[in-house]
Point group: C2
Chain length 236, copies 2
């Protein structure tokens, strides 16, 4: 893990191999670690990211955000770019947008899963073996489902805003406690596909929270509540 | 309002006209009032009711439970009894259990709605004009939906574990903030009918919480969380 520069609010930018990430630690030094999988089009230092992760550090968590493949400071990946750019025309031609997005996330997760596991090795070496949770909705859920299924160090996860096939069939492999967010009027994810992903998760301890509004309108109260959920499971 | 006897934990039994109820007040004297609509087969002094309502009084609420028509200390109602008793055979003959139960709740609510409104008048005369919330799942939701729709003094409600037609078409008339509970493996209420009732509620501020398990397995954490929800809306 190579620390490349510092950020406000106890933050640093880092790379692990060629993967860029950012880490913020709470005022108390360290605490349980939450890995955040950002949404599509976002990245580790996107506008507003620092403000968003500040809720986590103020709740006593260390929080790390890693640029997903083809996002942020990463080089463009021709295969992912080609698939992403083909989506509007294929949707116009009648293909299912959520199936195409799930295909894109499936392809991206073949890289992101081993990358995030390596980042977690490095963060554990840096912070000590702190308990680990995962937070990712939308693309962060599409890439998060196969990651949480593959990574036994993740003890609890906040997921959601993604359709059944997001996660490439790994949902049944997620067995840790999950808080799953649904936006009842999500214009990007059909409601029944979102409910089907929740249903497919292998966890016996899972709770779905659905709120009115569109994809980008998750109420702030769900962030507070999700942090309480992670706190309960990571400090137990 | 006639107080007929006292109960442990600052409780009293009362009647309003011929309707029997129970009221518990918090240690501090009074607080916002939660009307609880009990489930089918339950009543104001059913085993465990005092322990359940203690969570409410410990959170600072006054809490009242009224025996629903044909329940508890109320005389048997021939029409409701006949309908209730016909359900097993009609389900065996292929009718939808949830539609029949919704029909039963619709019939009972023609009485319970005006009764509960009169009880609320009496409780407000007794306690002062404290803010009012409603808590009712299963039959308490079936009778609660038309009550909350009809009663403008109710400012927020916890509902759930009931199918679309429970509430007799009054769902769109519910416009206050709602927390709606779903049990993902509810053996009595088909999942899609439960989701359809949430969808039909007229409230713009409504949140669905779904947990794994059967009709009777709502996690205790949802009670705590529901009380926080009511607290937020009734003390605002």
């Amino acid at each position: 893990m190579r620390i490349t520069s510092s950020l406000p609010d106890n933050g640093v930018l880092f790379t692990v191999d060629d993967v860029p990430g950012a880490l913020w630690t709470p005022a108390g030094g360290t605490g349980p670690l939450v890995l955040v999988g950002h949404g599509g089009g976002q990245h580790r230092t996107a506008p507003g990211m620092a403000a968003r992760v500040r809720r986590f550090t103020e709740a006593g968590f260390a929080v790390a955000v890693v640029d997903a493949p083809n996002h942020g400071d990463r080089p463009k990946d021709p295969e992912l770019s080609r698939l992403a750019e083909s989506i509007p025309a294929r949707v116009a031609a009648g293909e299912s947008r959520s199936a195409l997005v799930a295909e894109l996330h499936g392809l991206a997760s073949r890289r992101s899963v081993p990358e995030w596991r390596a980042v977690l090795d490095a963060l554990h070496a840096h912070l000590g073996p702190v308990p680990v949770g995962y937070w990712g909705v939308s693309m962060g859920c599409g890439l998060g489902v196969p990651f949480v299924a593959a990574e036994p160090r993740v003890r609890a996860a906040v997921l959601g805003l993604a359709p059944l096939h997001s996660g490439g069939g790994a949902a049944a492999g997620v067995t840790v406690p999950v808080r799953f967010l649904v936006q009842w009027h999500d214009e990007l994810v059909p409601r029944e596909e979102s409910l089907a992903l929740f249903d497919a998760l292998g966890s016996t301890d899972k709770t779905l929270h659905a709120n009115v509004g569109g994809h980008g309108e998750v109420p702030v109260a769900e962030v507070t509540s999700g942090l309480r959920f992670l706190d309960r499971h990571l400090r137990a």
